[in-house]
Symmetry: C2
């Protein structure tokens, strides 16, 4: 690897993950491929103010990336992936060269970046300076990045939570769920989570401080499980999974309950979506369901940091990462999200600095 | 019929509609029976401050009454019906005798009352004085009563509508739908309605001023029909039907769209509810769905009258009633709601004063 002159940067080797073809049904490792562009020349043309060249350190594996692999993908905050091109996601990076006055060489950022060793980022509105480096940098792929911020927006801003309320979180040991549960506990709520293994259930109860948790794969009836965990009903359902769990939650909501529609991971790999049957409860129980994309709320990021940083400093938040080493293993790490392989926030480590 | 002394009132004849048994599946006339209590004695005991005896003039037929016929009914604003007892609903009545200081003999009220000629109303919080009598009294079963108020609350208060927005209303020629459409037009929205016959579609376009309308029974694909009517998508869906229409609307909503969940008449008579498959659009399009029961909003009734009365006086609102004469025909009128028999607000006329 060699860096070029003052007019630009040359990177000789750049390993990257490409989408091979649009994906229907379950995403598999073979839907992606890892290639090395031995001779790629990355340059910052002179006067190019909106280009930043970064070295990617940590890549975040997130369920929403599955949606961008569809041929008819709705791309909002991020563009849909194109076969033959590098896939993208949130990551933590170090600035190597910058044409943009806000970002300087050597600074750490989190941003939408390519799944590759080095990226030229042109959408500089989606680069965020890393404000505190007294925490592990990898936290900015999760707790202090998109997923932690998603938990904060989806719970604190969308659900209007109050002390003493009953909160249910699905996919509760996942990157977003584990933080939602802890934010809810810190607010004085009663919190129950669902997860897909006994190991994860144990983690929720012992490590993340949930009041109760259950393994949804072992329950005969999700409705009965929720009835057992919430004899008085649910005030807030933070939905990461959709489908049958959403249906069961609708049956167990209390009057004036709120549902934060954050993700529907149970549905992303289905060719035919499951039906949700009990929406009539929206009326009889006067429920509000609100979907959101965190990209619409970045103006609240400083407010989020004000809330979360003291919790981290005082050890009030526990955060669990599941690290995979090397870009070669990135496709498997992403696929693992959908089989429930990861315990905690799944990320890929490319380099430490 | 004879009225008694100053201590009470005797009514010799009181025809009424009883629920015969809890209803599963489609409600039928035979689920109810009309009986005459020849010897019933209705009295206002001395000092009974919370009792009002009324003569019922107009009974309102409303889809929500179906839900109160279930054995496992969720009763909120109104108690569920009990086999062998009179069914209840909204109606317009004249006060015959009152123990309550707010209501005086000879005054007209709208209230939750029995489906019978005379009722003793004990829940005096659910009696509303009729403030204007320069409109047909029957309007208080609809336009100026629960259904008109439902349209106002569900559209103006829940949906946060803005001039120029695209509004879809299902069951649009029904009691609530016809008013929602007109409120939306008066706000400067583009409004399309769906209904179940060509006659109703014609009414929507010619009489109620909808910009467009379609007969959902004649469309091969509801999604395609909505795409044709809303090439730019739907900002507000006022949902009276649920099920497949809700699914089709989800596919056609615009970003940040709002869904007012007012009723799901397509589902009320089904033993197994239909699934709604495209809730994932709640997330990608950042939609909000809010269910409501109008009984929670009666504090806004005076505000509603301030909005609606000038429209009525200036001929800006068209209102269509479908009147059935006689309590003997009341069960058929109620059942007719669910087969789409009525055109406009269905009510039963018992007496004119």
């Amino acid at each position: 690897m060699a860096f070029g002159d003052e007019n630009g940067v040359v990177v000789k080797r750049n390993k990257k993950v490409l989408l091979k073809k649009y994906v229907n049904g379950f995403v598999e490792e073979s839907d992606m491929e890892v290639v090395t562009n031995e001779t790629i020349l990355l340059e910052l043309p002179q006067g190019s103010k909106d280009i930043v060249l970064v070295k990617n350190l940590y890549l975040s594996c997130d369920p929403f990336m599955r949606g961008l692999m569809l041929e008819m993908s709705e791309s909002h905050y991020m563009e849909a992936f194109v076969p033959g091109s590098v896939i993208k996601g949130f990551g933590v990076s170090r600035v190597l060269k910058s044409g943009h006055p806000n970002f300087k060489e050597g600074e750490y950022v989190w941003a939408i970046t390519g799944w590759e060793e080095y990226s030229l980022i042109t959408d500089t509105e989606k680069i965020f300076k890393i404000p505190f480096t007294n925490v592990p940098l990898s936290y900015y792929t999760g707790l202090l990045g998109m997923t932690g911020f998603t938990a904060y927006v989806g719970f604190n801003e969308i659900c209007n939570p109050k002390k003493g309320e009953y909160v249910f979180v699905s996919a509760a040991s996942g990157a977003v769920g584990q933080i939602v549960g802890q934010l809810a506990k810190l607010m004085g709520c009663y919190v129950v989570g669902s997860a897909g293994s006994d190991e994860k259930v144990e983690l929720l109860k012992t490590k993340f401080g949930f009041d109760d948790a259950f393994n949804y794969k072992k329950e005969k009836s999700l409705g009965a499980a929720l009835k057992r965990c919430f004899p008085k009903g649910i005030d807030i359902y933070f939905d990461n999974v959709g489908g049958a769990t959403l249906d069961a939650a609708l049956l167990n909501m209390r009057d004036n309950g709120r549902i934060s529609a954050c993700g529907m991971i149970s549905q992303y790999n289905l060719e035919e979506l499951e039906g949700v049957h009990f929406l009539v409860k929206m009326i009889t129980k006067r429920l509000t369901m609100k979907g959101f994309l965190v990209g619409d709320y970045f103006n609240l990021y400083p407010k989020f940091l004000e809330v979360i940083m003291p919790y981290i400093k005082n050890g009030k938040i526990t955060y669990l990462e599941d690290k995979t080493e090397g870009i070669e293993n990135a496709p498997a790490a992403l696929v693992g999200l959908f089989t429930g392989k990861n315990v905690g926030k799944q990320l890929v480590v490319l380099a430490d600095e």
